[in-house]
């Protein structure tokens, strides 16, 4: 969540800032992947940046020379390695940064939503590498709003809110509780899709089935949700597969609707507003 304290926590753990209270004890070497592109010099070539960024992470020239080929190969930037970084696309420089940071063998790795770099193919590749690292006894501290990624990658989770630990434990337990609480707080929208494509004749209040983790879109109209027995039930009580009834004055017969759960805006570490699509469901009226 916004201001939950995750970035601060990661910065404290990686030593970037000192805690005002308490201590951090760390066993092992840390590689933080906080802001991927920072430390790159746009006027340097990819090759020079490998050494600059590597030195920032505390590696010696000999070590970087040893790992150089591996880094370039993983980044798939062989052709562009002598091109200045300012001529790289965002995806290319992110690939390079990710390759440098993961080429080394840290014992603890800190990831702040960096698995969203590059194209789909590279994302998959980087996820694979993370999993390989996990198999090699590397501890990964992973921060994300994308619950699916958290579930995929982690076995333990901490749920933070307003700088406090709400819950910690096994990943499924924590994620499930988090998901329910989000339902409670978030807003629900409906958006009508193109009526011309509509073929179904549907009554306005019709049972629909909630399915989580489907794609969501942003809409504008508020709706009211009722449970299958037409009573108002707090949102956190709903679970996967529950039947709900949608009420909204503007809903019309014979239209197709999508229902969206919109989780609002968060700020990333640079203070940019980002929409998260973490919890949500799309549905439509069915006969």
């Amino acid at each position: 969540m916004n201001g939950a304290g995750k970035s601060t926590l990661l910065k404290v753990i990686s030593g970037v800032i000192k805690p005002t209270e308490g201590d951090v004890s760390i066993k092992g070497s840390i590689v933080p992947l906080l802001e991927l592109g920072s430390g790159f010099d746009p006027e340097y070539t990819g090759r020079e940046n490998i050494f600059l960024k590597g030195s920032l992470l505390g590696y010696s020239r000999e070590y970087l020379e040893l790992k150089y080929d591996e880094i370039v190969e993983f980044s798939e930037l062989e052709e562009f390695i002598d091109v200045k970084l300012k001529n790289y696309s965002t995806g290319m420089s992110s690939r390079l940064a990710f390759s440098i940071a993961t080429a080394v063998n840290p014992q603890i790795m800190i990831l702040d939503e960096v698995l969203s770099v590059g194209d789909a193919k590279f994302r998959e590749k980087s996820l694979d590498r993370m999993k390989t690292l996990l198999d090699q006894d590397v501890s990964v501290l992973f921060v994300s709003h994308t619950l699916q990624q958290v579930r995929d990658l982690c076995n333990k989770a901490i749920w933070l809110e307003n700088g406090r630990v709400i819950m910690q434990g096994s990943v499924d337990e924590v994620c499930d509780s988090y998901e329910r609480s989000v339902l409670l707080k978030e807003k629900i929208y409906v958006k009508s899709s193109d009526p011309r494509k509509n073929d179904a004749k549907v009554p306005v209040d019709k049972d629909i089935i909630l399915t989580f983790n489907a794609p969501i879109k942003v809409g504008t109209n508020w709706v009211e949700l009722l449970s299958a027995n037409r009573t108002s039930v707090p949102l956190e009580k709903y679970v996967d597969g529950d039947k709900v009834i949608i009420k909204h004055p503007k809903l019309q017969h014979g239209m197709r609707y999508n229902l969206h759960l919109h989780t609002g805006c968060f700020e990333d570490m640079e203070g940019n507003k980002v929409n998260t699509h973490s919890t949500g469901f799309t549905t439509e009226f069915k006969d």
């Binding site: 990686s14 030593g15 970037v16 430390g39 006027e43 030195s55 920032l56």
Partner: protein, 261 residues
Amino acid sequence: MISDHRFIANFEKYRYLLVQLIKRDIQVKYRNSMLGIFWSFLEPLLTMIMFTIIFSYIFKRDIPNFPVYYLIGRVAFSLFQSGTTGAMKSIIGNSAILRSVYVPKYLFALATVGSAFVTFLLSLIILVAVMIVTNVQFTIYVIFASLPVLVLLLMTLGVGLILATVTVFFRDIEHLYGVFTMLLMYGSAVFYPATIIPAKWQFLLEINPFYAIISCMRTVLMNGTLYNTGELLYATVFAIVSLVIGMALFYKYQNKFLLHL
């Protein structure tokens, strides 16, 4: 064991980073210029020629070898000015890095002083060349020039660390310091003979530790005699005091830097 100390271990670990930062600092300075690093030689040489032409008419009788006299003051002043100014901006300028990864922060200040020193060493080549051309007698005392240079380096680092720390909290210093360095250049007899200062203002030169340093360098390089050790001692004390204050300030406030960047 001293080698087990965190500071030493850290320095070992980040030694390559220091090299990289110094390299980058020098590259940034001459980036996109055709002659690149040769400006380290050319710039002092050109200003020397300019000042010689201008002042050889005015101070003809006062300064025996004006080109060498000027160059010594000029290369020393450049080291101090670019080192301290660079260090002053080093923390602010690298805020993006400091926010995302742990790096010992003093390295950035150290690197700018280091790059100023590399430029200084390069400009010494010009100084030696001009000394040869103008028939300066090289004596054994030339090696004693290394002491005031060392003192100057420590002083640059000390003042640089103080400025780096203070400027994070008061950005105005950045603008004020430019005025100060200009004052320092005019107040240190870099390009005029010290004798033109009226007797009642001579004390200003005497209390100026930077003037003490260039005066020592001029004595050993131009006169071929040993400098007044009291003068050097005064500059040394000043350098060490500024270094201690700089390190203490930096160490005390470095954890608060991030809140102000």
